[in-house]
Symmetry: C2
Subunit: 395 residues, 2 copies
């Protein structure tokens, strides 16, 4: 039975993915005209499932399922409705669809708390280069500059930018279902993962400055090759991260100057991205990697300059909600796997205002932000079972 509901969820996600700015791809940015069509489909289904619906002043779609008694607190379930360019059908919107499906499965039986399913208008940061607009507005932390930046788009969408957005009811907590966007669960053969924390990030730009030279006339022992130096260092970065549990480190961008086949590289500019759920571990790791850069460069007669471009703290999610999720996962017959999220999510913002939890669904091939991003119907069914179990227990 749950498999049919899971199939319905996937079919709805695929149908919603057709509301796009670019035919043939799914591209749907903050408050674009195609978001109206998404709202239209979801509003109909929310109403059919017994919810009252509103769109707030930043374009968050909010469906409220009334509690057994008035003045009861709210439990939130949500994720985002916007996408990156050329996206898949599940990143974000699956969490909203699962929220509505859970309410539908309640069949009108009220719980001792209200459920508010929220489809955040903006998380990816594509349209204004500023992410998390929907969730920041919900908790009253969208700053005035951002509010001013988006005012025109809000008006064009038919909303009044001066209307209040921030939630007012007492909140029990927040649950976000999201595809993992990585290969961990698939590799473990597990459908679901409980997110303990959103990793913190250090980003650096590092420049190795050596000496350009003629590739034919400069013997190996007289070189100050910036690329050979960077290569040795990249191997150390990889080794350091590989032996530090839970750490990831990436050199994603690297430029060689002058960049000719017969010229020894004089300069290499590259980026380093280090993530870990413990800030101290991350900062120590990044510092060790920078030390290694200086040590290797010094031995080779090169110089190093560096700048930290981002130092974003980790966000722990709520331990009690995570335990409640873990019990629900166990009851659904699956092994419990706790993990960090290496990417940011709305839950990271909402966690500032209330207990927040996240449940990851396995991403086949680790794919996301890609047209072939998918979910398995069995995994969606498991997520629905866990969600029902979790809500019943909370009640």
């Amino acid at each position: 039975m749950m498999l049919n509901h899971a199939e319905d969820c996937i079919a709805r996600c695929r149908a919603l993915a057709l509301h796009t700015e670019e035919p043939g791809f799914t591209t749907r940015t903050f408050l674009s005209p195609w978001m109206h069509a998404v709202h239209g489909d979801l509003i109909q289904w929310m109403r059919d499932s017994g919810m009252s619906v509103s769109v707030d002043a930043v374009g968050n779609l909010r469906g409220r399922y009334a509690p057994a008694t008035a003045d009861a607190p709210v439990f939130w379930i949500g994720s985002h409705l916007d996408t990156v360019p050329h996206a898949g059908a599940f990143d974000g919107i699956l969490g909203v669809v699962l929220g509505v499906k859970l309410v539908q499965l309640l069949s009108g039986h009220p719980l001792p708390f209200a459920i508010e399913v929220v489809g955040f208008s903006e998380e990816e940061g594509v349209r204004f280069g500023f992410p998390f607009i929907g969730s920041l507005a919900l908790i009253g932390q969208l700053n005035p500059a951002a509010t001013a930046l988006i005012a025109g788009a809000v008006r064009d969408f038919g909303l009044n930018p001066t209307d209040p957005v921030a939630m007012t009811d007492a909140s029990l907590g927040y649950l976000e279902f999201h595809i993992e966007q990585g290969p961990v669960l698939e590799n473990l053969g597990l459908p679901l993962g409980i997110v303990e924390a959103i990793a913190g990030q250090t980003r650096m730009q590092i420049i190795f400055e050596g000496k350009a030279g003629h590739a034919g006339t400069t013997p190996m022992n007289l070189r100050h090759d910036a690329l050979a130096c960077a290569a040795e260092w990249i191997c150390e970065v990889e080794e350091h991260a590989g032996k530090t549990f839970g750490m990831v480190a990436t050199v994603g961008k690297l430029e060689v100057h002058p960049g000719a086949p017969n010229v020894i590289p004089g300069t290499v500019k590259l980026t380093l991205d280090v993530r870990h759920q413990m800030d101290a571990t991350r900062r120590h790791g990044a510092a060790s990697m920078l030390d290694a850069a200086h040590r290797i460069a010094h031995r080779r007669g090169l110089s190093v300059s560096s700048a930290i471009t981002l130092d974003q703290a980790a966000v722990p999610l709520d331990a009690q909600l995570a335990q409640a999720l873990a019990r629900a996962v166990e009851r659904s017959g699956h092994a419990v796997h706790c993990m960090m999220s290496g990417a940011g999510h709305d839950a990271m913002v909402i966690a500032r205002a209330m207990p927040a939890a996240m449940l990851f669904l396995r991403s086949p091939g680790g794919l996301s932000h890609h047209p072939e991003e998918s979910v398995l119907v069995e995994d969606v069914a498991s997520a629905l079972s866990v969600g029902m179990n979790f809500l019943e227990n909370l009640a």
Copy 2:
């Protein structure tokens, strides 16, 4: 006394460097109008030194110093007059200036052979993307396509492209003085080096194909990072060349795709340049490096594709002339250092037609193809002493 002559040579090179297409820089390509001015200055000096002068049909400047007896063979001394863009004052033209100076130092006393000082019109390949035009024409090996390619430029310079160029007299040999363009002699504290061979070259393009992924959500052990793979390989390339006497290997160009700080590199394209004076050693080295690329990529779950873009054989220079040079270096009071040239030179072409020799002068800072390229006056004086000694012994 020789120091004064050396100072004169340096002053002449610096004056000739002012004949340039770009004020403030020395840029003088094949048969450009500014080459007329260079010819004018050199022709005057050649005539004053007792030579008869001609410019052949590809623009080579040829000054002939008559022998003691008619029908005696010719000994050639030369190098090139063209430059790369933003060049220094010595690469090429110093070898021509030293040739004229040696004739001047003979003070009209004839030798049992003619001396022909040749300023090759083209070596760098800048104007037509085709190097060694002057020396190829001299030995009658400029192919018809190249001859046709340059015909307009030849006419514009005031020459007749159908006139014969190739030398006809019997030749004893060829000597080229040239700056080293590398740091070896400076590092050894020596003014001069005798070139045994022009290194052969292998150039390859190699592509490492891994899997792009999210830098935050993909654990280290599940990555197929093309840049980390390339880095490990670059370290092996450097190690292999470093422990193979006389080999140089360079990764000069490297591109990372997609090339974003928060995306694991999926593809790396790079170039490999391997040089050695023994072709078998070079080819074995390049093959070992390619094997290493496949081995490392296979272990990491990546694929490799490669293409050899150049496989140019080494050119050994004449051993007897090298020995004669070595004796002259010893008599001038300096240690003999034999070396390979990692760059191509006119001597490499001329060696197809007659015994050829090269003498390198120390390059301060290893600099060449650079406005700050220089020579030391003492080194020029030593080169002149060696040249005089060499000619006297040949006589």
